[in-house]
Symmetry: D2
Subunit: 157 residues, 4 copies
Amino acid sequence: MLYIAVVGGSECTGEESELALQVGSEIARRGGVVICGGGSGVMKAASEGAQAAGGAALGILPGTDHRLGNRYLNFTIATGLGEARNALITRTADAVIAIGGEYGTLSEIALALKMNKPVIGLNSWFLEAPHKTGQAIIEASSAKEAVDKAFSACRNV
Amino acid sequence: MLYIAVVGGSECTGEESELALQVGSEIARRGGVVICGGGSGVMKAASEGAQAAGGAALGILPGTDHRLGNRYLNFTIATGLGEARNALITRTADAVIAIGGEYGTLSEIALALKMNKPVIGLNSWFLEAPHKTGQAIIEASSAKEAVDKAFSACRNV
Amino acid sequence: MLYIAVVGGSECTGEESELALQVGSEIARRGGVVICGGGSGVMKAASEGAQAAGGAALGILPGTDHRLGNRYLNFTIATGLGEARNALITRTADAVIAIGGEYGTLSEIALALKMNKPVIGLNSWFLEAPHKTGQAIIEASSAKEAVDKAFSACRNV
Amino acid sequence: MLYIAVVGGSECTGEESELALQVGSEIARRGGVVICGGGSGVMKAASEGAQAAGGAALGILPGTDHRLGNRYLNFTIATGLGEARNALITRTADAVIAIGGEYGTLSEIALALKMNKPVIGLNSWFLEAPHKTGQAIIEASSAKEAVDKAFSACRNV
């Protein structure tokens, strides 16, 4: 069973929300589990998409109350770690799909790449490294393409 | 939905394993979710009990690979935090049931009591504090009694 | 350079405070570094003792502001991890001296023993395990004896 | 006392190493403390610079042995948290100076910006956000300018 993290802003545009919904749904239809930070915005839409497609979504929360995740999560973990929980999302995931996002999302992209996990970007950050680095963000232009690429990348690891 | 952590040794006696199986099953029958460290021994038996009763078990793993939990877990989180993950088990739980156990279990009992979570003990640690402390371990003598007391304690919080 | 954690209540008796002051001082006089949670009570007294003897004390704080440690600390780390920071205190220490204490202290004793670190107790918890366990708390009856035993135990590891 | 994190690759170019040495030295000369990941490369050079100028450097290590930091550190914390320790570096710091770096460094830049800490870049990452974000990396072209900007930014917070 593949665990795919969907990361992005807790506030997001309508277009990003729609993409996240489709990404969550596509992950579930392929038998994957959505891992996310458990909040609103992209996280909530991805969870809703997973649920609508009969799949599952887990929320790894920064706070101390397991009840405070969005309403589409099957289960939540209350880490109480604040921002340090971002490392647990990427550690748990087999691949990461980033949709838009701000600095929290960027930290998840970076942590995932540092951990050698595939990262697929949908209208997300553009990065230019000071040096040649290893693996980069894999760009996708639709939800379906992002999820296809995430699953392919996992199989090739 | 109540989250009940079941903590105990990764090695345990046959009697403890049987107790953990019943505890997992009783939690599931009351609609609760089993939270555990995801390993063998008491953790595995509690997960098996939950699954057998049609419920769910989550494993919060110390390591970095989400595939390395016991086979009765519905979902796992790979924290990569080592022993620090014990604090996430108690943080996520509404109540903790301790069955036997060694120092890892003792740390979970202590962290739970520090966090003001109810702790039910089944043949577990006997503690004598240097000072008067708050809440103590609530003793139980059967799996059913332990789970009854865990659910009652949650309702009274 | 040996790192000795001094753990105990953020509220403590006058006797415990005096013991912690002496323990901090004895650690510093032997060239050790005091590691603590950075708070008040036993933590503050141990830090003060270390400083008075010309040594150093580090505070590993649960919160997010490195300025919020007690005033006798040379340096602090703001973990933002809440109770999970207890595992970092014991992980960093070569040995742990526990003075009195409540559940937070008990969690540090248990985590240290789980990590195979020597733990010396001064009027601290009395524990009775459900099973035979490994190493137990080493009792001491004076600050000097506690620090002697901590340093000896480190050398024998 | 200001805590300035210096982040960058554990492998780095000679030019980056020289910059890090100067940055560490400039921080110490202004009475600041160097916070770093405790490893080699940029971390080691910054620690060496701080020591050479009579200042102090702290290493927040990913591993479990406090002895495994570079030899210019005054004190180390053994977190045992792996990559999650990056969040503790930025949490503890009042400002962050990034020199070159790969994905680990990028995660520290992102976590710092998420935590509203000033980030100064010296030949480091170029980022283009999918949305308007808050504060960005403040560029500097010399060690002295980077440290001046870090101290000014702290005073304005």
